[in-house]
């Protein structure tokens, strides 16, 4: 079985890094993985995409993801002008960095209740508290794990320590746990 994840973020929020961390963790779990960015004319703040594929079998595909199983939105301001649910599989999962009125969220997503599974976590607030910067990528991994246990916590921890210096890995691990705790289906 193969799971395809599409990450929506803005340049500088670490969408590609999140896509990579998830892939690294899944590889530690013994899965076959791919993660890659869709490089446009990148600049800080511009909407960007990144992808993760996780599979039990070796992955043949080398093309972008068009029909993801899971969509993760790192920045709620993207909801206004990026069609984040485009191509999302039936009964797919949407994980959004969001804190506020649920009806308003559904309206912004342009979907009906029950159409998809929707999870939120207040990633920006948590990132500002813990990292002192609005970098929401790792928080969203926490929220994802609440909704779908794609990888083990141990493997995410290992991936963080592999990717970041110890103090940064520690903070991000704390952030992931907090975001996991506060994540909920809406």
């Amino acid at each position: 079985m193969m799971i395809e994840v599409r990450w929506h973020g803005r340049g500088g929020q670490g969408a590609w890094t999140a896509a990579n961390l998830l892939a690294m963790a899944a590889a530690i779990d013994g899965k076959h993985v791919q993660s890659f960015p869709a490089f446009g004319p990148e600049r800080s703040g511009a909407p960007i995409l990144a992808f993760t594929r996780i599979s039990d079998e070796p992955i043949d595909l080398h093309s972008m993801v068009y029909e993801p199983d899971i969509v993760i939105v790192l920045d709620p301001t993207l909801l206004k002008n990026v069609p984040v649910t485009e191509g999302l599989k039936k009964n797919g999962l949407i994980v959004v960095n969001y804190e506020g009125d649920t009806e308003k969220l559904y309206k912004m997503l342009g979907i009906k209740k029950g159409e998809y599974r929707v999870y939120t976590t207040p990633a920006t607030r948590l990132a500002l508290e813990i990292l002192k910067r609005p970098i929401t990528n790792t928080a969203m991994i926490g929220a994802l794990l609440k909704a779908e246990k794609l990888v083990s916590f141990e493997s995410i921890e290992k991936a963080l320590y592999e990717r970041f210096p110890k103090p940064i890995a520690e903070k991000n691990l704390g952030l992931i746990k907090q975001a996991y705790e506060l994540a909920r289906e809406v």
């Binding site: 990579n20 690294m24 590889a27 530690i28 890659f36 595909l61 080398h62 093309s63």
Partner: protein, 419 residues
């Protein structure tokens, strides 16, 4: 496509799991290959290779002399000098950087210097584009280099190490280019297994060994390298008296490449449990296929994905990934293709005013056969335009319908372009 082996010398559990992108995988391979000199200049999407390698240098993890040159022309020139002095030399580039190397590429090949070059394939300007196609590689196809194309990140690692072994084999002594698709491989993380350092050292036989030659002004055979103690000249003036004969040496060396590539592929299989077809061609489901598609690089995986799907639907389709483009395996490929009804030849490059480069080769390969398939050229993916599964499936259906009709209306087709 790799096949499992029962007992590789280094079983998978003794290999280290890495989750890295194609560029990093190449850097790891170069790190383990006891490279003496790296001279390079950054260009997207190759930059990570040299960035990562310079990290290894800065950390003292390699003994390599790292030369941060001021252009790709200089990068290849420095590699030529280093290799002529007996060093194992490596560099990496892409697109316009490769174009700037052009003059020196010929010199590297003609001087029979076993340099390894990683090319993170990228479209040539203009308009400026950083994404994948093969027009950069095709610009060097006549320069006298061995050209290998890889499908995934694991193969990028494996092939980079193999490239040194192939290049330095005394039957070959030619430079080797390892092509990995920009972004689709260079910037894509995949899980791979790498060997322990010592296993790579042993596979390559340690540091580069320079062949010995007989020169009339020395009593003994001397190593073929620049050495003030035993002076030799490399590439002196060579007019109509001997130039042609020296070119014939290159012609002959190229003929010996396929057997060496096959041997190295087989030795790698014994060592690691991984192999890529016979090293030259990677056929899949071709036995009874009415329609066969040929392809280079990472798209090979997506094509295989579709072949599997169509086979499940009972369609007689197959594919061949061309792993070695130079020297081109005309005979071997023709033998695989000859019984198909239609062959779709995918090219991620075009020779303006003609066809795609591999289409020309395959026409040449099949010309002498009385019974041969119809040929269609699909030019696709220029400037990084994606080749998603749906598009490739559409291509297979077109080819199946051509096979049914028994003739081809349009020989040159552009796949995934706006009409």
């Amino acid at each position: 496509m790799t096949e499992a082996v029962k007992t590789p010398h280094i079983p998978l559990e003794k290999q280290k799991l890495l989750t890295v992108n194609g560029d990093e995988a190449v850097a790891w391979a170069a790190k383990q290959s006891l490279v003496d000199v790296v001279a390079a200049y950054p260009i997207t999407p190759q930059t990570i290779i040299v960035e990562k390698f310079s990290e290894f240098v800065a950390n003292g993890e390699v003994h390599t002399e790292f030369v941060p040159v001021e252009s790709e022309h200089s990068a290849m020139s420095a590699c030529v000098g280093a290799a002529a002095a007996g060093a194992r030399a490596f560099t990496a580039t892409a697109a316009n950087g490769l174009a700037l190397m052009w003059e020196i590429l010929y010199i590297a090949a003609s001087l029979r210097l076993p340099i390894v070059l990683a090319v993170a394939n990228r479209a040539l300007s203009a308009p400026i584009n950083i994404h994948c196609d093969h027009s950069d590689a095709m610009g060097m196809r006549d320069a006298g280099w061995v050209q290998l194309f890889v499908e995934n990140v694991q193969e990028a690692y494996d092939t980079t190490i193999q490239a040194f072994k192939i290049a330095e084999d005394e039957r070959v002594l030619l430079p080797v280019a390892v092509n990995l698709d920009g972004f689709f491989l260079s910037h894509t993380l995949e899980n791979i297994h790498i060997l322990p350092d010592e296993a790579v050292h042993e596979f390559l036989g340690g540091y580069r060994k320079v062949p010995k030659v007989k020169v009339d002004y020395f009593d003994e055979e001397v190593p073929l390298m620049l050495n003030p103690a035993r002076p030799l000249s490399f590439g002196p003036l060579d007019l109509y008296d001997y130039y042609f004969e020296h070119k014939m040496h290159q012609v002959e060396a190229m003929k010996r490449v396929p057997e060496v590539v096959r041997e190295v592929n087989e030795k790698w299989y014994e060592l690691t449990g991984r192999k890529y077809g016979d090293g030259v061609l990677v056929p899949y489901e071709v036995e009874d296929a009415d329609v066969i598609v040929t392809v280079l690089g990472s798209t090979g995986g997506t094509v295989r994905h579709i072949v599997k799907k169509l086979r499940r639907e009972g369609k007689k389709v197959g594919m061949v990934r061309i792993r070695m483009f130079r020297p081109f395996p005309h005979k071997e490929l023709a033998e695989i293709l000859k019984n198909a009804k239609v062959v779709g030849v995918m090219d991620r490059a075009i020779s303006f005013g003609s066809y795609g480069p591999s289409f020309l080769e395959i026409n040449t390969a099949l010309y002498d056969y009385k019974e041969k398939p119809l040929l269609v050229n699909y030019v696709y993916g220029l400037g990084g335009r994606d080749a998603p599964p749906e598009l490739l499936e559409k291509m297979f259906h077109e080819l199946l319908s051509d096979a049914e009709k028994g003739f081809v209306e349009k020989k040159l087709r552009f796949l995934g372009v706006r009409e």
